[in-house]
Amino acid sequence: MTEITPNGVDTAALDKESRNASRAMLAEFWYYFSQNKGAVVGLAIFLALVIVAICAPLIAPHDPSLQYRDSFLTPPVWQEGGKAAFLLGTDAVGRDILSRLIFGAQYSLFIGVIVVGIALAGGITLGLIAGYVGGMVDTLIMRVMDIILAFPSLLLALVLVAVLGPGLTNAMIAIALVLQPHFVRLTRAAVMAERNRDYVVAARVAGAGHLRLMVKTILPNCLAPLIVQATLSFSSAILDAAALGFLGMGAQPPTPEWGTMLAEAREFILRAWWVVTFPGLAILITVLAINLVGDGLRDALDPKLKRS
């Protein structure tokens, strides 16, 4: 940790120093992260998924919502009756499953990004306020978070979506809301721990405003746990959105969201295994990759585990 004397601090120098420090930290971080082979594999899969999602219109062999009326429930290509045009087969209305999975990657990553974005923004803001201001405000915020945490997350999200109306947007809002308390708690705890540290006191004495103190001085020092939590939330968001889709409350058909595809496919589990198997596998692989990255991040960022 950078040691600074409380008096006569040159803030510009401080900034520069912290920039250098952060570059060094990044290098150190990558060193530890790359030690974890699983994490690297996870990252590779994740990047591949991102590329697939971005290039979906280019690589998908078919339009994901185009119905081939002469090919209902075609099995995958390697199975008897499969067609070369449909590598992973087609669903009940003759849509190409592979193309739907590819476009589904867009939705899943989009869900993850948006949900984590909302949860992070809301959580950090509330956490900073609670931790920094303290007193009644703190109590109020934390009690509200306790209330949210008193419900099982999926149940709360389910009821919220029922209130807001089924659909992808509402599902994302609901999931972000139930994931948010974790960020609030983390941020608040970090802020309370940092608030009376020397460097904060120093910045305050130097005349830094409240906002600057909160955002520029304290926040960067509690980023590590937030990043880890954000990764974990990314995967829970995808899982929860899929679960909501499965229960018919998430993305609505014909959206090629994986959970929704599973829900639609359920009636075929005895007859057309491929319509059930592939979307689930896609969810599993994505979530697994993100969790691998999350583990790697935690190992690399958590100084306590670093030693062992």
């Binding site: 209902f72 009940a92 209305v93 003759g94 089924p166 058909p253």
Partner: protein, 534 residues
């Protein structure tokens, strides 16, 4: 005989014995039902699932539908007379009919006129002590069939004669009394519950005169019945009837294949071919008494023009819908009533699927760049296994004639409510399942002028059509009614307030050991007369 006695003793006693232990000769039929009954008083509800578990096994009605038809036969009433003016119905009740003896009730008298009065007056009279016997009691079917305004009074002439006095003549009255809400309860059992301060048990532990008596219900899991030895129609071939509640169609099929149940309703369309191929299973099928339709809002431009509606009808590929949505379990609909119903006009020609023609007709009607909403309901219904998928097929075809479709949906209750609005934006997918086999139950309810802003989702009020169906309602001669209804269907086809989509075919898979099952055109599931081989 000893087995019977043992069984009875066990059921009556506090400790309920295992049915299997009473010996191999006790025949048990297991029915994998699709959902939990809401309660056991059929008059409080409208869902078929509840009727299957209550009115059908446990109760009887004054008149009954002949199994497998919509023809009415004597039930608890042996005969009836209708007065000249059609306002008085006198029922002569069957004698010697016994109510069930169960663990919670032992009857001291046989069925008589008091039971009929009790069963109807609790629904009819607001001051009847049983009108609101349980929290939120509402007599849904009785009300929606307009019984409160139709029935003036019910008179007990003597112990075995009951007279219904009506306010106006009603051709389908007798058929109405065969419906589930008209089930006959035991007034004596009700009095016993009242005395014990447990009125609400009437909805939880039913006592009737039907072929099966109620044994027990484990919520969301199992309902048990046993054959009623003193049933007036004779004891059933099976001894025990069990409803194993299994909401998932795929799981139901698994259980049927594994022998965990013997009969199941509503197979997933996708599994039908597979079931037909299975030599251990038998599949019964029947055309359902229903119709699925797309109702335009005929008060919304440009759908107020019949030519526009007709053009869109030509752009609906019914065959693709039958393949993708019904997967063979449906039949294209050209009329608003199903082909199994009398007065069905088979001479009518359907609007052929012809995109070029549709496009041309739209152009002639001066409609360009049309964009519209199609409402798709969020639930599976007997007449439409997947509205969303159906809407997607339509969306794809409409796009080819330059019509942009946005699919909208609401929560089911909301959907039903909002789709009634006269200023509704868009065409709505909905359907109807017949209650009593009368064409008026379709044409009058769904397309009559009274229904605008209500059950007439097309908001369509056409004078020619209305005159025909109003006339048909008061005429008593069936041949003449048939002619009028046939003519009404011609008007309907010309005006096209709906796109008629399909009539579903109902499938009933069962173990090959099961015999004597008869499918009900009204969609119910009955187990009297059913037997199972060992």
């Amino acid at each position: 005989m000893t087995i019977q006695k043992t069984l009875k003793a066990a059921l009556l006693g506090a400790s309920l014995a295992v049915i299997a232990a009473t010996g191999a000769s006790a025949k048990t039929l297991v029915y994998c039902s699709e959902g939990s009954p809401e309660g056991f008083d059929p008059a409080l509800y409208t869902s078929g699932t509840t009727f299957d578990a209550s009115s059908k096994p446990v109760y009887n009605r004054l008149v009954e539908f002949k199994r497998g038809t919509t023809e009415v036969l004597p039930g608890l009433a042996e005969s009836w007379d209708v007065s000249e003016d059609g306002l008085e119905y006198t029922f002569h009740l069957r004698k010697g009919v016994k109510f069930h003896t169960t663990g919670f009730f032992t009857p001291t008298r046989e069925f008589n006129a008091d039971d009929v009065l009790f069963s109807f007056e609790r629904q009819l009279k607001k001051d009847n002590p049983w009108h609101e016997y349980t929290q939120g009691a509402a007599w849904e079917y009785f009300d929606s069939m307009s019984m409160p305004s139709l029935i003036k009074e019910i008179v007990k002439v003597d112990d075995y004669t009951v007279k219904f006095v009506l306010n106006r003549p009603e051709a389908p009255m007798i058929a109405n009394l065969a419906m589930d809400f008209a089930s006959i309860f035991s007034a004596e059992y009700a009095a016993q519950l009242d005395a014990a301060g447990k009125k609400e048990m009437l909805n939880q532990e039913p006592v009737g005169t039907g072929p099966f008596s109620f044994v027990g219900y484990q919520k969301d899991a199992v309902i048990r019945y046993q054959a009623f030895a003193d049933y007036w129609g004779g004891k059933q071939p099976i001894d025990n009837l069990i409803f194993a509640i299994t909401t998932d169609a795929a799981v139901r099929l698994q259980k049927l294949k594994a022998g965990e149940c013997n009969v199941m309703p509503y197979p997933a369309p996708a599994d039908i071919a597979d079931i037909k191929a299975d030599s251990n299973l038998t599949m019964m099928e029947q055309q359902g008494l229903n119709v699925g339709y797309l109702a335009y809002n005929t008060k919304q431009a440009p759908f107020d023009k019949p030519e526009v509606r007709k053009a869109l009808n030509h752009a609906i590929n019914k065959q693709a819908i039958l393949d993708a949505v019904f997967q063979g379990s449906g039949q294209a609909a050209k009329n608003p009533i199903p082909p199994t119903m009398w007065s069905y006009n088979d001479a009518i020609e359907d609007d052929a699927f012809d995109l070029d023609l549709a496009k041309k007709m739209l152009e002639e009607a001066g409609v360009k760049d049309l964009s519209m909403k199609i409402w798709a309901m969020p639930v599976q219904r007997p007449y439409n296994p997947n509205a969303r998928r159906m809407a997607e097929v339509m969306q794809a075809d409409f796009a080819k004639i330059g019509v942009t479709v946005e699919i909208v949906s609401y929560e089911w209750g909301e959907y039903l409510n909002r789709s009634k609005a006269e200023d509704r934006d868009g065409a709505v997918l909905l359907g109807w399942t017949g209650d009593n086999g009368d064409p008026d139950n379709f044409l009058g309810v769904l397309l009559g002028c009274d229904g605008v802003g209500g059950s007439n989702r097309a908001q369509w009020c056409n004078k020619d059509f209305e005159d025909l169906i109003q006339k048909a309602k008061v005429v008593s001669d069936k041949a003449e009614r048939t002619k009028l209804y046939e003519e009404a269907q011609v008007v309907f086809k010309k005006e096209a307030p709906w796109a008629t989509i399909a009539h579903s075919v109902v499938f009933m898979p069962m173990s090959s050991k099961v015999s004597g099952y008869v499918m009900d055109p009204l969609g119910g599931h009955w187990f009297d007369g059913v037997d199972i081989a060992e």
